[in-house]
């Protein structure tokens, strides 16, 4: 038991994690590509046409994974941030800052695909629907995180300040979501939802699930690659980086 | 504590205060690590850094009374007057800090030491911008603090004689 604990802490040093991440990254990338190919096959050739929404519903195969990832990444980011604040580990901050850009991109994609779905279904590019609005606010939170990160020069201080911001954000996300929902029902009532199709065929569900897993793999692969860059950049004055470059 | 510029004297002092994080090692006060007893430790601590911690648009007395209040003290006007006189800024207690010279501001900041009841003084370059009489007076004040069982950690570029009290010189090198 004791040896296992030591084992894990070994990987929490940036140097060891750099090597580990380098070894794992290609596998996750490969998994992402394979799963995405399978998911795309199901989304276009196996899943049947939706009775209500015709072929337009196929947007869910990218919209749902993107929205889910944007929310999960924020949670994971906040978890890393909290871990970093509590135990003062360097790697945690690096992981949080490696996750943030991908999370922001998924939030952005969720908005783009959401409004591409909304145009034919609602007849408008943008509707102040509770989900879309919350997603927009989530994007703002990501942008705030990225802006704070980039405007503090000392990376250690930036990591800690961003960690506080991420934790404040994660406490606020449910409150914001609830308040937006409240606001939405007060003002216009529920509208047709992209994800609440009553008759979802099992192949549709399977396709969506595979796409969600594929997006997870993509996120992990991209984050590992990015955190490797960050580690190299931050640890540039250490011996092992000099050896790694040579 | 001595050492060349940029060698980390101020950083070390800030670590002693618990302001800056410590990369490795531990700082103990009364046998307990300082981060484990932060509130009790701060009661014993008086830190004067490079910055004077004086608000320009408040009077000298208001400034001193405020920092004293932060550690739960309320010095009366007469006491403040006496301390200011001791530090060579007599009769300035009702003046706005804005109207003082740099040297006078430094003296006002240092006069906090006489008003504080902390046992540990952490001073960053206290002798800078002081004339000879000021240095003498401050050295005597530190000596008196030490004879009463207090402790002072300070950085300085110059050798200052504080009498017969044993002092340790720590020289930092890069």
């Amino acid at each position: 038991m004791n040896t296992r604990v030591i084992h894990w802490f070994k990987f929490s040093s940036p140097q060891n994690f750099y090597v580990l991440a380098g070894r794992m990254q290609p596998w996750f990338a490969a998994l992402a590509i394979v799963l995405m190919a399978v998911g795309l096959w199901i989304s276009f050739f196996v899943a049947p046409t939706d009775a209500q929404q015709g072929e337009g519903y196929r947007i869910i195969f990218v919209h749902v994974p993107a929205s889910q990832m944007s929310m999960f990444i924020y949670l994971v980011m906040a978890a890393w941030a909290g871990f970093g604040l509590a135990f003062n580990t360097r790697l945690s901050g690096m992981m949080a800052s490696a996750l943030a850009p991908t999370g922001a991109l998924f939030a952005f994609l969720s908005l783009v695909t959401g409004s591409l779905w909304g145009k034919p279904m609602w007849g408008a590019w943008w509707v102040w629907d509770a989900r879309l609005t919350s997603e927009l606010i989530l994007l703002f939170l990501y942008l705030g995180f990225l802006a704070l990160q980039s405007s503090i020069d000392d990376p250690r201080r930036a990591d800690k300040a961003c960690a506080v911001l991420a934790l404040v954000g994660v406490v606020n996300v449910p409150i914001i979501y609830f308040s937006v929902k409240w606001w939405n029902t007060l003002h216009q009532g529920a509208s047709v939802s992209l994800t609440r199709s009553p008759t979802m065929a099992s192949t549709m569900l399977a396709g969506m699930l595979i796409m969600v897993i594929a997006f997870w793999m993509y996120t992990i692969a991209v984050t590992l690659a990015r955190v490797r860059n960050i580690i190299l950049d931050r640890e540039r004055h250490t011996e092992w980086v000099k050896h790694a470059v040579e | 504590m001595a050492g060349a510029n940029g060698v980390g004297k101020t950083s070390l002092l800030r670590m002693v205060c618990g302001l800056a994080p410590i990369e490795s090692g531990e700082i103990f006060w009364n046998g307990t690590p300082i981060h484990a007893q932060a509130d009790a430790y701060r009661q014993d601590l008086c830190y004067l850094g490079h910055l004077n911690a004086l608000q320009e648009s408040m009077t000298v007395y208001e400034n001193l009374a405020f920092t004293a209040a932060l550690s739960g003290m309320a010095p009366d006007a007469a006491q403040t007057k006496a301390v200011l006189a001791q530090f060579g800024v007599a009769g300035r207690d009702r003046q706005l800090v804005r109207h003082l010279s740099q040297g006078q501001k430094r003296r006002v900041a240092l006069s906090r030491l006489a008003l504080s009841q902390a046992r540990l003084w952490v001073l960053d370059e206290p002798f800078v911008a002081m004339d000879e009489a000021g240095v003498r007076m401050l050295a005597d004040l530190i000596a008196a603090h030490l004879t009463q069982g207090g402790l002072a950690v300070l950085t300085s570029h110059q050798q200052v004689d504080i009498g017969a009290i044993p002092a340790q010189l720590l020289e930092l090198r890069a």
């Binding site: 049947p48 072929e55 337009g56 947007i59 | -």
Partner: protein, 59 residues
Amino acid sequence: MQWNSVSEFFAMGGYAFYVWGSFGATALVMLIETLLIRRQRQEVLASLRNELLSEGASS
């Protein structure tokens, strides 16, 4: 399979722009992100090599 011809597949039952737009945007963003990370890596490595070279020259 529900597609009778290639053109029908691309037409997406009249939703071509929206469906292909969504998938296209997603693919584009993922591609750009991957390329950006690759470039970032090359930049970091280049600056590290530069540093090493200048250190080697000065010592």
